[in-house]
Amino acid sequence: MFYALSYLIWLPVQGLFIRLLSAAAERVLLLVEHPPILTALTASGSSITIHSYVMGASQPLTRMNCESFHITVVTALALALSVPLKRWSTRAKACGLALTVVFFGILAVCVVQLEWAAEVYASTHLGITLYTASEKEFLDWAIRKTSLAAVYLVPAFLFLVSYLSVWSAPARVDVKEPDRRKGIAQTPGRSFRIGWPIVTVAAAGCVIAGLLLIPTHDDRNGRVDLEGLQKIVTLNPSAPRAHFYLALNLEKAGRLDEALVSYQQALQLQPNLAGAHLGAGNVYYRRGAYDQAARSYEEALKREPQNAAARYNLGNTFLKRGLFDLAAQSYEEAAQSDPDDASVQKMLGETLMHLNRRCDALAHLERSTVLDRRLSTDATLLANISILKSTCRPQ
């Protein structure tokens, strides 16, 4: 009966609990991870999405299902309710204490499981490891121990302590009211004081509030920690993706020379890594070495002919060198690979304008404004469309 009642209490608060857990775990990770690997957590329903910069983009790394955490909460609540306390208000206080203690137990489980989930994803899908051997050993140990503690130990401990408080209450009553000793001894719990749970709940509330007050970065979803990436490269010196992700983030940080070295290291380990060719091309492009950039993009396209980004960037190098025919051809191929990319449509339209193919240019420029509404306020683009509309003479 108490088990069913606990479920009834739990179901409406599950979402809130997971959100609070996610927020607290994010702060704990900030405190315990040096350098940080997991930068942000977002809760939705009963799962937590893990964000990290390791893939070189601000996209979620993986997702962890937290549904099983309810076992601990429901068990602890059910056991707290089953302590023979006469007043329901006292039972409610005991439940509050149970929920608070359980929250911290689950928080510990959640933090280690999140780190482990990220590690498992990175090793199976990316071929890299995020933590050192000793850190992984500790995580493995911690998962086993914290899971045991959360599922069995914490609910049992709370129950036993509450029961003992009820049990030992007659000893105090004996001294206070000796005349009624006999009667009270048969009904333990009548005078049970639960002042200590309130103190504990209040203290725990302060700790949770303190945790939530730890400032996080505004851009934590896209936050990059180069120290963390260096650590990953050190842990995975022969993993091309480790060098590749470091290079991507170095490039983003504007450290082009180091980024190029890392791209080249990735290519030495895996010459057919198209992304690394593309990245090296971008570095050359930003340095103004358009010939080298074009060669890198062509290498990327040899490996991945449908890579729209490489086609588009190749078109840009042609445009920079004044080769409008070749640029238009590249943009057209990029548009075929990714017809919904507004930037490709815009560049293709502008290049076709240079080539005096006005009606084709108009169609692509208009399409770019449809694909990206922000472009509809671009004054230059609107002026070009207006000119093309007045000068386009369909044959």
Binding site: H70, T75, L79, L148, V151, L160, S165, W167, S168, W196
Partner: protein
């Protein structure tokens, strides 16, 4: 020493009939001391048992033999419901196979129970009875757990995960506590606990 303690525990209390007693301060009552002593002892025993059961030696001697025994015993009982086979820690019923892992052998609830019995203020005789009754009871609970989970997996596979994770994990610890309450109520009566 005991007189001194008794004096402390009644500190701040007035004589009967002289008005309401003063509210005892934090941690000043016998009850609070008893609870604190229990908490410390219980946690120390849990750390001790957890360390012992985590060792390689105990892993081989206790966990391996226990899981094999549970598998063999379960197979004999489950044979009443279909074709049951046991091989080492693996168990199958009507083609549904499962492995009895270390966490499913009932050792963890058992040492939580034993720690609770040993830490609880009672006589050594009562503690002895508690261990003697409790360990077989928890083994039985775990055995019923394994058997019902296997039956569920073989006949209602859609319910296997729910029964395994959500139902029995909570039930095991709830039933372990029920065994403890049974022991405490039957063998350690109120008013007879050892002095704090």
């Amino acid at each position: 020493m005991s007189d001194h303690r008794r004096k402390d525990s009644t500190k701040g209390l007035r004589a009967p009939g002289s008005g309401p007693p003063a509210r005892p301060g934090w941690f000043s009552t016998a009850s609070a001391r008893l609870t604190a002593r229990f908490c410390v002892l219980f946690i120390l025993l849990i750390v001790l048992f957890s360390s012992i059961t985590s060792t390689r030696f105990v892993g081989v001697v206790l966990h391996d033999h226990l899981t094999r025994f549970i598998a063999t015993l379960s197979a004999r009982v489950l044979a009443l419901f279909g074709t049951a086979l046991a091989s080492g820690q693996f168990l199958s019923l009507n083609g549904f196979g499962a492995s009895i892992e270390g966490a499913c052998d009932g050792v963890q609830p058992t040492y939580i129970y034993v720690a609770a019995v040993l830490a609880f203020p009672s006589t050594w005789r009562a503690k002895g009875w508690g261990i003697l009754i409790g360990i077989p009871a928890i083994f039985l609970i775990n055995f019923i757990r394994v058997a019902t989970i296997m039956l569920c997996g073989a006949y209602w596979p859609n319910w296997f995960e729910r029964v395994h994770l959500y139902g029995w994990q909570a039930l095991v610890i709830a039933l372990t506590m029920a065994v403890w309450v049974f022991w405490a109520e039957l063998f350690v009566r109120p008013g007879h606990q050892a002095p704090s």
